[in-house]
């Protein structure tokens, strides 16, 4: 009986987050922000449990995973459980971090059920050690300016185009490429 209620809880959460994401992918920024906020709490709890020996890395990895979710959001298939997609991204980034740090810890969770990533949540954000603002400042102008104007200052694509003299499509491409470059910079590849 208890188990049924827990499973119903997961399902309800999965459905709600999925609705928020789908609305976000259709261009509703408020829903998308709610999705990312709730997701970040789940990612934090998920990653904190797996980085017991590296607690300082948790918040950086939460940010890295959020950026990955955003950059790869076009790979989500609505026919697929959202938890499986999110968990695969979080695990990929976790393993990537451990590889990078050459920490060969065995990932000892063979019973990783797909719904687990939504089973706990942690809204206590610690201070991230890596400052994304600094990495952002290192991006080339044609990527940095579109991100700063449209995503930090909240200008429209048209306003940014007028301000910078770039074309509107160059602004869109700049944001897209810039956020991908940011993810590569985090991994130390750019």
């Amino acid at each position: 009986m208890q188990r049924t209620t827990r499973e119903e809880g997961f399902r309800a959460k999965e459905d709600r987050l999925k609705t928020l994401l789908m609305r976000g992918l259709a261009g509703e920024n408020v829903a998308y922000q709610a999705f990312l906020t709730e997701l970040s709490a789940h990612l934090r709890a998920f990653l904190r449990r797996r980085l017991i020996h590296l607690p300082d890395e948790v918040e950086d990895l939460v940010q890295e995973a959020l950026l990955a979710v955003h950059n790869q959001r076009h790979t989500y298939d609505p026919g697929q459980p959202l938890s499986a997609w999110v968990q695969a991204i979080a695990r990929y980034k976790l393993i990537d971090l451990l590889r990078r740090r050459a920490v060969h810890e065995t990932l000892n969770d063979p019973l990783d059920e797909a719904m687990e990533v939504f089973s706990s949540s942690d809204t206590e954000a610690a201070e991230a050690r890596r400052d994304l603002n600094k990495l952002l400042a290192d991006l080339p102008e044609q990527q940095r300016l579109p991100i700063v104007h449209t995503k930090l200052e909240g200008l429209s694509v048209k306003e940014t185009a007028d301000l910078t003299g770039m074309s509107e499509s160059a602004i869109k491409v700049g944001v897209h490429r810039g956020l991908k470059a940011l993810a590569l910079k985090i991994r130390g590849f750019l």
Binding site: N29, Y32, A68, P81, W85, A125, T150, L152
Partner: protein
């Protein structure tokens, strides 16, 4: 930057997703790549002289069936390996199935052949160039598919690169059937497969570095 600030940043501006989905982007890459490979083939090789008669022979269609079904199976693998968390059950079996079938046909034809004919069934006339030509024709297809895959999110980059390479090899082999005079199942089950595995192995190797995100 605080996590909440990052979230606000990501959710500001154009956060919606537009443009064609993974399926149509791969279809486009395969189509353009196959056209480029066909042009390459027409420039460097003649069509097989008896192409029109060959269309009536069952073995010609067994050959086409083998490479085309391998292309279909690897396209399926490519699509699933491009998405985080997609179900990969049975994907290895699906890709191996066409190979197992052609091997069974090859074994049957070798067993039933006259012993002096067996080496001819295996080596044909063109075993020295066939794998190389298939690998060469796969190049434009390989580049087009990898370009799309780089924009996807494979969580198993080596396997994804292998599947992408195998797909380009299988499409190249299908195009190569326009030229290739060989009709022996043992030949096809070995030399064709070898040619398709060249881009697949290169893909696995490149995927490990180029497909990480």
């Amino acid at each position: 930057m605080k996590t909440d600030d990052l979230i606000s940043m990501l959710a500001t501006g154009d956060s919606g997703v537009t443009g064609p989905g993974a399926g149509s982007r791969y279809a486009m890459a395969v189509g353009l790549g196959a056209m480029a490979a066909t042009v390459m083939l027409l420039l460097i090789l003649p069509l097989r002289g008896d192409l029109l008669q060959a269309l009536w022979l069952p073995m010609y269609w067994v050959k086409i069936g083998f490479v085309a079904s391998l292309a279909g199976a690897s396209l399926c693998a490519v699509l699933r390996l491009s998405r985080p968390g997609a179900n990969l059950d049975g994907i290895t079996l699906l890709v191996s199935l066409p190979v197992l079938v052609i091997w069974a046909i090859a074994a049957y034809s070798l067993i039933n052949a006259d012993p002096v004919e067996r080496s001819r069934l295996f080596f044909g006339d063109t075993w020295m160039v066939c794998p190389l030509l298939i690998a060469l024709l796969s190049l434009p297809i390989y580049l087009a598919i990898f370009r799309v895959m780089k924009d996807m999110a494979p969580t198993r980059p080596r396997a994804a690169g292998f599947a992408a390479g195998l797909l380009s090899g299988a499409i190249a082999a299908t195009v190569y059937c326009l030229h290739c005079p060989e009709m022996g199942a043992p030949f096809i089950g070995f030399w064709y497969l070898l040619g398709m595995l060249v881009p697949a192995v290169i893909g696995a190797w490149q995927g490990n570095t180029r497909l990480r995100w």
